[in-house]
Amino acid sequence: MMMRYVREPALWLSLLLVIGLGIWPLVTKSATLREDMFLILMFVTLASSLNIVLGYTGYVNFGHIVFFGMGGYIGFYLIAIKGWRLIPAALVAALGVAIFAIVLGSIILRLRGAYFALATIGVNEAVRSLVVNWDAIGGAVGLEMNFGRYKDYGGPMNALWYTYTLLVIVAAASVMLSYFVRTSKFGLGLLAIREDEDASLVLGINAPRAKTIAYALSSIFPAMVGVLFFFKNGNIEPGDAFRLHMSVEGIVMIMLGGYGTVLGPVVGAGAYERLRGFLLTSPLFKNLQLAFAGILLLLIIIFVPSGLVGWLRNRFPKVRRILA
């Protein structure tokens, strides 16, 4: 079964793109490039995973960032307070968040359309407020990590490179997961739910179970990314961990790149991050970064709703084999 995938150019293209971008700073040993790529790969992961729920299943999840925040908190707590190492902490965080997603998903996935979207916002805000009031994990002030912890990884510089390498692996894994879901029978079921949920029920698809699985799958990699991100930053605060804005940026990236495709979120994340970085440091556009993103989103929604990759696929059916 696995051999079939080795022969699929679409998978190779997506993976090579992600890994190629990821390896670049490792080869040039440039810290600035690493920092830029870190953000890009982080968003590639967030967008790819969100795509499973948004693009494939058609459910608008505005609160996707709650997985990032929860994962970040669980992992950071284990590392900073309990002294765990990075990889075990990330894995446990992902497991914990996935369980949360299964429980939460089975409750709120009953809602449809706008109601579901609003509920996801409510969940994110509720979790954030809860963390703010929970002093055992830092409350509003957050948690800090003793700088000496970096010594376990050979000093801060080594720790930063190590974390980055792990992120490249996580980003590649999330793209692979997205591809496997897309091309599997399970994924077909999700697409059917997206097109017409009631019809899919008639066809025998166990929609509630499928949706919940999708929701849980989409939570794993953001959780890991959260752990890596906050480990690198050395501290975590509720305001940074549950920023609703990041969820929405994820949605913009998916729409920009291609809604419901594997390559779309990758392209969209890369393009959006580059654009954002450029606008932020240019004194002329610094403050208009958000406005530009808004105009971009509006134009895409109205004129090119299937995004860049989606448009290419529609226009040139021949590329469908290599642009998944």
């Binding site: 509003a140 957050g142 800090e144 510089m157 605060e237 305001g239 940074d240 448009w311």
Partner: protein
């Protein structure tokens, strides 16, 4: 027609992508570039890049502006002197490089990484506020750069094992202890205290320390509660405070929430005998509250009426360096048109401390500068500066707070007077408040 629209939009998007992917050369915000033409052509000039972020926009804008102005005034003074002369003839000058962090942590980490890796900053000064400084300190320490922090009082930053971060301000744990002492001295019968604070690193640290200190001194804490950062409606909270019937309210957060809180306390005519809140009363713009400001006490890292001078340094057996208080105040007034508050003084002090460290180390080598900072025990216009070198490396252990209170002078103008400690007093305290 439909195709045309789609093609145009795709072209637009592609154009954006192309511009984005081209290497963007970021331009830092124009700050003073203090490259000084040397007098003697043979003497070597070494220009050190001093990097920092300022909150030009966002909720810390007012305090940060004062701090940056202070730092820039110091840089001007060095420039006027022709730089720092080392014993081997090298002349050291400074180039300031800064960006707007918009009062957000995310920007701080991105920008300090940029200052270090792209702008090749040699030395760093912190942003304003403990929260942002904690974020910056990690980056500084990760790259091994020395950072002097000003505008950041939280103790917790110095418990993380950093070795190159040095604090100018008196730590948060000593912020409101004096207010408790003052209340005890002015009114032995006042026993009930309400401690209300902004839920930030800084204010939470101050409040917790103040609570413990007050309890040790026999006070009853009738309310100990924090409010969310960004609260604008203190109505329900003030109702709760009034119900607890405290004699005094202490706490607060930063300028924005502190001044709103003070204003709403006045509007509700909350019957309390003393109000001591953080940060806000020490910013000159607090006066805009008008009558709501009268009687409000604030702990201050420094006031222009303080008694630090070369004479008092000698009396304490300490070396003195830098301008006197009067010199600093007049220079600031000449440059900016109004009297400086403690945020500005802190900014100036940060630069001055680095200047002295370089002079004492007689070198620009980071390890030598670090050694000089570790050994520093000096009095400047800002007060006594000495750093902890033990577990809480970098914590400020020499400096103390004074407490100011807004009062109306004979012509009815609002002025700041020092009302505590007794030795530093410039006016009698207004107690109890007439509300």
């Amino acid at each position: 027609m439909k195709h045309l629209r789609i093609i145009l939009s795709v072209l637009f998007i592609l154009a954006l992508l192309v511009t984005a992917c081209s290497k963007a050369t970021p331009t830092p915000m124009p700050t003073k570039a203090a490259a000084q033409p040397t007098k003697a052509p043979e003497a070597k000039t070494k220009t050190l890049v001093l990097g920092f972020t300022a909150s030009n926009t966002g909720k810390y804008a007012k305090e940060s502006k004062e701090q940056t102005q202070g730092l820039k005034l110091w840089a001007e003074a060095v420039k006027k002197k022709g730089g720092i002369k080392l014993s081997d003839g090298t002349i050291v000058t400074f180039e300031l490089k800064s960006y707007d962090d918009e009062s957000t942590k995310e920007r701080v980490q991105q920008l300090y990484t940029k200052l270090i890796t792209e702008d090749k900053a040699d030395l760093l000064v912190s942003p304003y506020s403990s929260g942002l400084t904690a974020a910056a300190a990690v980056i500084a320490e990760q790259y091994g750069k020395i950072m002097v922090t000003t505008g950041a009082a939280s103790d917790s930053i110095y418990k993380q094992g950093y070795q190159r971060v040095y604090q100018i301000y008196t730590p948060a744990s000593r912020y409101l202890t004096g207010a408790v002492d003052a209340l005890k001295a002015w009114d032995p019968n006042a026993k009930k205290l309400a401690v209300v604070y902004e839920k930030t690193k800084f204010a939470t640290g101050v409040a917790t320390a103040a609570k413990e200190y007050a309890e040790k001194n026999g006070f009853e804490i009738v309310l100990f509660e924090g409010y969310e950062k960004g609260t604008t409606d203190f109505g329900p909270f003030i109702n709760k405070i009034e119900a607890a019937k405290p004699d005094a309210i202490i706490g607060g957060g930063h300028f924005q929430d502190g001044s709103t809180f003070a204003k709403q306390l006045y509007e509700k005519k909350t019957p309390v005998k003393m109000i001591a809140i953080l940060v806000a009363p020490a910013v000159p713009e607090f006066a805009e509250l008008g009558d709501a400001a009268v009687g409000v006490i604030g702990p201050s890292q420094w006031e222009s009426l303080a008694k630090y001078s070369p004479e008092s340094a000698k009396a304490a057996g300490l070396a003195w360096c830098g301008p006197t208080i009067d010199e600093f105040v007049s220079a600031y007034k000449a440059a900016y048109g109004y009297e400086p508050g403690y945020h500005a003084a802190g900014g100036y002090a940060a630069g001055l401390v680095l200047e002295r460290a370089i002079k004492m180390a007689d070198s620009v080598d980071p390890d030598a500068i670090k050694a000089a900072l570790d050994k520093m025990d000096v009095m400047i216009f800002f007060g006594h500066i000495k750093f902890d070198t033990g577990e809480a490396h970098g914590l400020q252990i020499g400096h103390d707070m004074v407490y100011l209170q807004w009062q109306k002078d004979k012509s009815g103008n609002l002025v700041r007077e020092i009302v505590w400690p007794e030795a530093a007093k410039t006016a009698e305290p207004l107690y109890p408040l007439q509300r």
